[in-house]
Symmetry: C2
Subunit: 718 residues, 2 copies
Amino acid sequence: MPSSLRCLFDPKSIAVVGASPDPSKLGYDTYLNLQASKRNGAYRGRLYAVNPRHKEVLGDTCHPDLSSVPDELDLAVIVVPSQHVPDVMNDVVRKGVPAAIIVSGGFSEVGNRDLEAEVIRIASDGGVRVLGPNTLGLLDPHNGVDTFFLPEWKRTTDGVEAISSPKPKPGHLTLLSQSGGVGAALIDYIVGSGAGLRAFVGLGNQADVSMDEVVSYYAEDDRTRAILMYVEGVRDGRKLMEACSVASKRKPIVALKAGRTESGMRAAFTHTASMVGQVEVYSMAFRQGGVIEASTIEELFDAGKALSMLQPPEGDRALIITNGGGAGVIAADACEQMGLKVPPLDARAVETLKRLALTGRIPSTVSPNNPLDLTGSASSLTFKVASEALIGAAGFDVCLFLTLHHAPAVYDDVVDAVSWFRNTCGKPTVACDVGEAEWARIMRSKYEAYGIPAYPTPDRAARALHFLSKYGQYRSRPETWRDTQSQRDRLPWLAEFSSRERDRALYEPYASELLKQYGLPLLPCEVVGDADSAVRVADEIGYPVAMKVVATTVSHKTDVGGVSLGLRDSIEVRRRFGAMMAMVDRLGLRDSFRGILVQKMAEPGFELLIGSYRDPFFGPIVTLGAGGTYTELLRDYTLRVAPVTPSDADQMMKELRISRVLEGYRGMPGYDLECLRNVIVQLSSVMIENPSVAQLEINPFLLHRSGGAVIDAKVLLR
Amino acid sequence: MPSSLRCLFDPKSIAVVGASPDPSKLGYDTYLNLQASKRNGAYRGRLYAVNPRHKEVLGDTCHPDLSSVPDELDLAVIVVPSQHVPDVMNDVVRKGVPAAIIVSGGFSEVGNRDLEAEVIRIASDGGVRVLGPNTLGLLDPHNGVDTFFLPEWKRTTDGVEAISSPKPKPGHLTLLSQSGGVGAALIDYIVGSGAGLRAFVGLGNQADVSMDEVVSYYAEDDRTRAILMYVEGVRDGRKLMEACSVASKRKPIVALKAGRTESGMRAAFTHTASMVGQVEVYSMAFRQGGVIEASTIEELFDAGKALSMLQPPEGDRALIITNGGGAGVIAADACEQMGLKVPPLDARAVETLKRLALTGRIPSTVSPNNPLDLTGSASSLTFKVASEALIGAAGFDVCLFLTLHHAPAVYDDVVDAVSWFRNTCGKPTVACDVGEAEWARIMRSKYEAYGIPAYPTPDRAARALHFLSKYGQYRSRPETWRDTQSQRDRLPWLAEFSSRERDRALYEPYASELLKQYGLPLLPCEVVGDADSAVRVADEIGYPVAMKVVATTVSHKTDVGGVSLGLRDSIEVRRRFGAMMAMVDRLGLRDSFRGILVQKMAEPGFELLIGSYRDPFFGPIVTLGAGGTYTELLRDYTLRVAPVTPSDADQMMKELRISRVLEGYRGMPGYDLECLRNVIVQLSSVMIENPSVAQLEINPFLLHRSGGAVIDAKVLLR
């Protein structure tokens, strides 16, 4: 763990530069919060106020500048107007402070990129790590560091003094946020829900310390049990993926991504690049990095709570026990909708429950199903008896108790029964009691005091199980995701071609050559310049043949009549050659014309699209989807951030709606999935190993029962 | 309004049959709750205890039976063991009580259908309307009726007396529930969220009074502003659809449907019947009935709150104003994900905001966008100034204010600014403040006191707007849904055929005859018995022709070689005829063989599936989807509960993923949608007008640029 980050996140001495006795200044609340934290014993380090305009701030001595502070400093918290920050940063460097938080705004977020760059240059030249600028900074209930400028208390217009920004108790959730407003709101939500916080880190503009570094830092932190992230965008997505991929093996990470509007900045050279949405890329990047995605604030917190309290399960089979039939059905619906299984009880459990119902130890109307509805007449004892009966039940991995307290005979000792069950069977268990009045809150608090996360609706409890199960899957994956991208082309001729040709689309025979070098299955073909050569080539490769115009500017060849299929003999080849040349002239394509490709006609097969483009944030993205005319019609595709492993490729095939056809369908034999897997992996390698390739698309790739063939490939160089 | 339902839901005199002084009996809490309601003045009618075992219950005189009650009674609340209920019901009839609630369980819900039927027979013979059995009954904070047997207070094992089943304050939400447990939980949730209740009705087993009647009753009730329903299943879905369709023009209705497991009880004669899920049928039935569907308890309540406080908007364009950029993005994401639009501000508003930023009346860093982010330095006054600037802004229908109180300069007077805005522009407005500590609650309460529904997360606020907009769409639809189903076949020969043929699949030429009578476009064809006739017919209709085996038991004809396509001359026809006859013999189909159909080959076209089957709860369902080999592959289909109107049919086409192809795609001309509309509507008519038809499927229907053709039709009679 680098010591400068230790100084940033766990400082023993702090100076607030810009501390102020004026309540209208940010330096007032920032100093007040730190001072309060020191006074109540939470922050046990030293604290200094720095401001040339004041001798005293809130009763403490105020120093005119950092050099006057009679102490070594771990951290400078900077809350001066942005234009003064470069001077202050020079002071920070001179003083030898290893870390700074720039709370002040007015930098790149409002367009002042040069000012931000200047500050970061000073800092990095001087060996200072910087959090921010434009950030709430840190809030750490364990070491008492609190750089928030938000007032804890505010008075309403009616004169009522009330808590505005509540201070969390020490806990195990670490929260990283790209937005101060969302961060403060999340903390308020977490505090109100009774949970504690390990630490909050406001990332601000991430001019220096970036999200991936903070993730790695807290993944090594013993007090952190789950990392929650609010993400608006990333600069280097691949670095974040690498960091999360490693970190998520130690700690669960949950992310809420905001901003789902499309960038619309991609060239539409291929379908692939125009089809894939930015949101999908983020989702897949999170998944590949082992990050669980939440879609609302509520989900982010619900997931964090479960993941910080429980170990992930080994499988996805849920057992649901309740005294409310309806609530049980809602929970089972929610589980199944989220991909969990709610299997029937095993035969022994069924027998035991039947016997208990016959002997009156549980209500006689109880049916031995999952969800197990103990009915509204169940008491706490009924839950205890049923739990004992199910303790040895096989065939489930997680458990959900829906103990609705409204039933006359259910009391809070039902929690003891559930806790006994959890402790004895050792499986992750969550609970639910619905309601917002006193008893519902008493029940949920008691559950959580026993280490059982409790939720106010059945679907939220089910979702918590889903997040647990998902993390279990992620953590048990054999590999972490690594960025293996090359800086230079493995095939040097690509870079040469790119510098030689103005528009940089790789035409035939170059495109085929690239694919051939990566072992992709091509049809026999040759580019020719006259009809005699066309006939000679066709005679060699055998009829029927296809002919295609090769030009540097024709993209959708079929649209302009640039493709002829199924030519059955030399007469047809000669006739079509002439017609195609006439078309080239008619359309004024002579300058970009490079010849006519004569290609063996492929056997019929299943049409797929396999493509790749470079995302500005995540680099090469590989897609697989329905091909040919169905590409745009079905929009049935999936993607991965490259590199794509063989097992990734297998997963991709399974994710398509057309996977049923690929695997064999209604008695039809399946297609050659091994061939397809290899094509996907090799296409990923082209992108990873050759930075000159900007986009690559094979559409269609014809997959056969055995083997396959590239019918049409487009390659765009950078 | 029938007076017996008035007596049920608004009784002036109630007898509790089975009232008991023993706290372990349901009759104890039931009587206690009603007595408490009478004592605190909520229930202003008369109350009587009835129980032959006691002289006194909770200090009140107890009568041995109903006839001893010295008063006319509006309502009997029955809480005696199920086996005594028939006797009690006889007493109810003798006493002339018009309405009864059977709280007791032990009837059809545990298999005792005969007992339930006996009770209902006694009641209906005696003119008594019955709610239940097996129900919590009623809870009406306006008239004080409270038949709950759930204790309001309970003592924890630590000896703390706390509220267990909170009593709601009078409000405007009417809640109907098929589950007592879910009902009690929902009430607890609603009370804790600060809302009030118009009435709760527990529907129980619906042996007499059914959900549709209760919906119609409260739709006419002035105090009801929104109806919330918890639905587990319906017996007569079409009756509920009719009732809701009418009621939803007056009051918004929101439903939460539990139980998404499939019934799996349908015959798989057609794809249509096996493909469609029960969940989809419910969703579409709700939609056709104008019922808004919620998918969680939280959504049910969130929707109810917004719909009971606000009128629906005229359109779906949302304006979002906030001091939290991140929260604004989350809200905009949520809006767009749910189909609302978040359009840019109009030019005048942009100009005004720019001027305000220049003159410093709003922060200089504010960009005039939607969401409008007034930034963390905004004060309440900034919101006021911005609201004034936007009051005349055109191009939006609903408004969402995200006023995060954590910002130092935002106070609760921001609510006054929002309220002024809402009152002045008159558009439905919702608010959000995130957090669970004091200030967040103060802010949300103040909003709601001003009639502005307030939510604790941006996505929940956005979802509330979505529900409002959806209700606006439903309410403005021109027609209500009516069940026009006929009791007898319009085509009498269908019933005759059905009684004559054992397996009741309608074969050729009967199937064609049915379709012809409904004006569906058929290809020229004839069923023949010998090769000469086949050649004669083929010569008449013109080549190429198709031939198909007609048999009463062959369903998937292609699977057994029963179809020959593209026969080009009389020689081919003769040859194939012989081969098909040989196949019939080989497969032992002679008994079911009815001839060979000679049919004109259709022009190529777009393959669709148009089908219908009878759902056990909702009657005839009409589906439209991708046809031919793509039916099961794509599973791209939509449905309606018949009757299907022409505008329904148009909507169905738009709902398909393949709609882009139907309408014309990438420069291709579109298909004959008028023809398709007509086929859908006519197929709906076949089902509505002919109860003998159980299933009907046209797959494929070949749609052309002009016109279309039925290629293969299957008809199953009942």
